[in-house]
C-alpha cells in the first residue's frame, strides 16, 4: 500500500468501516510512513477541535423564546397547506390570523 492507496481509504479508516485485511495493510503503512501518520493524527485533531467548539450552540437564553416563537407560528398556520412562511421571526398574532381567516371565509 502506498500513500495514494492509503488516502483513498482514509475516510473508511476513520469511520471504522474497513475490512480486517485492509485494516492490517493500513496499519502496516502507517507504521512505516511518517507523513501519513501525521495526516491521520492531525485530521483526527481537526475533527475533535470542531466537535469541542461550543460557539455554535444555541444560547440557553434563546431556548424558551425560540420554542415559543416556533409554536406560536405553528399554531398561527392552522396547518394550512403551503402556508407562507414568515422569515425573520416576525411572529403572526394568532387571534388576528384567525379573525382575518374568518373574514376572508365570509367573502
Amino acid at each position: 500500500m502506498n500513500c495514494t492507496d492509503f488516502l483513498a481509504k482514509l475516510t473508511d479508516y476513520f469511520d471504522g468501516q474497513i475490512d480486517p485485511d485492509l485494516l492490517a495493510e493500513v496499519k502496516q503503512h502507517l507504521g512505516t510512513c511518517h507523513h501519513c501518520e501525521v495526516v491521520v493524527d492531525t485530521t483526527r485533531k481537526t475533527i475533535d477541535v470542531y466537535r469541542d467548539d461550543k460557539s455554535y450552540e444555541l444560547p440557553e437564553s434563546l431556548h424558551d423564546r425560540m420554542r415559543a416563537a416556533v409554536m406560536q407560528r405553528c399554531m398561527a398556520t392552522g396547518r394550512l397547506p403551503d402556508v407562507e412562511l414568515k422569515p425573520g421571526g416576525k411572529m403572526p398574532n394568532p387571534q388576528e390570523f384567525i379573525r382575518e381567516e374568518t373574514e376572508r371565509a365570509k367573502h
Binding site: H35, T46, D82, G89
Partner: protein
C-alpha cells in the same frame, strides 16, 4: 443534484442507504411523537422541537455562518415541518428529515445573500484543492490550549467558513452532528460515495488550513492569526 431544490418527502433510501433490508425494523421513539403531532397534539410537536432545536440551530449556523440567519432558519424549519408533517412518511429518521429541511433552507439563505451566484451542494466541489495533503508538520499535543477561547473560536470559524458550502455541510453533518454516512447522504440527496469523497476533502482542507495555527514548529502562528484578523 442541488440540495435546495430537492423534495422534503422522506423517500425510501436507495440500495446504498438501505441498511435494514434484512434486519428487524426498530421503531424510533420519535415515530409515536410524530403520529401524535399529526393527530393534532401540540405538546408532542413541542417535544420534538425541544429535542432537535439545538441540532438544527448548529447545522444552520455552520452552513450560513450567521447567527441571525440561523435563528430564523431554525424557526422556519420547524414551522415548515409542522405544515408538511403529512409528507413525513417514516422512511427516514425524523431528525434526518429535519436536517434535510434545514440544509435546504440554509443553502437558500446563502443563495439570497449572494445575489448573482447559485449556492448548492455542488458548488466548488469539483476543484482539486485539498484532495492531496501538502503540510506534514506535526501539531502541538493540545494545540487549542495555545489560544484563548475567543481566539480559538475565531480561528475555527474563519477556517470552516473558507470551505465551499458543499464541503462545509458534509463535514458538519458527518463529523459535528454525528450523522452516519448513509444519513448524511439521505439528508443531502447525495450518493454514499459522493459523501465519502466530499468528507475526505473537507477534512483534509480543514486540517491543512488549521495546521498553520497549530503546527509544532510554527512559533509565529499566534502572530499569523492576528495579522490575518486585521481587515
Amino acid at each position: 443534484m442541488a440540495a435546495q431544490t430537492s423534495s422534503i418527502i422522506d423517500e425510501p433510501a436507495g440500495p446504498e442507504g438501505d441498511l435494514s433490508a434484512s434486519e428487524p425494523v426498530e421503531i424510533h421513539p420519535d415515530v409515536a411523537l410524530v403520529e401524535r403531532a399529526k393527530a393534532g397534539d401540540q405538546a408532542a410537536f413541542e417535544t420534538l422541537v425541544k429535542q432537535y432545536e439545538r441540532q438544527i440551530f448548529r447545522t444552520a449556523l455552520h452552513i450560513t455562518q450567521n447567527r441571525e440567519d440561523a435563528e430564523d432558519i431554525t424557526q422556519d424549519v420547524f414551522v415548515k415541518a409542522f405544515t408538511k408533517l403529512d409528507q413525513f412518511q417514516g422512511n427516514s429518521k425524523f431528525s434526518t428529515w429535519l436536517v434535510r429541511i434545514a440544509v435546504n433552507e440554509s443553502l437558500m439563505r446563502l443563495r439570497k445573500r449572494k445575489t448573482s451566484k447559485t449556492v448548492s451542494m455542488d458548488q466548488d466541489v469539483e476543484t482539486g484543492e485539498g484532495s492531496i495533503p501538502r503540510d506534514f508538520a506535526e501539531w502541538r499535543p493540545n494545540p487549542e490550549q495555545n489560544y484563548n477561547q475567543a481566539e480559538l473560536a475565531e480561528i475555527l470559524r474563519k477556517t470552516i467558513a473558507g470551505l465551499p458550502p458543499g464541503f462545509r455541510t458534509v463535514f458538519t453533518l458527518r463529523d459535528i452532528e454525528n450523522l452516519s454516512t448513509e444519513e448524511t447522504a439521505e439528508a443531502l440527496g447525495l450518493s454514499v460515495p459522493a459523501v465519502k469523497s466530499r468528507l475526505l476533502r473537507a477534512r483534509l482542507q480543514l486540517r491543512e488550513r488549521l495546521s498553520r495555527y497549530f503546527r509544532k514548529t510554527n512559533e509565529g502562528a499566534r502572530e499569523a492569526m492576528r495579522l490575518t484578523a486585521k481587515p
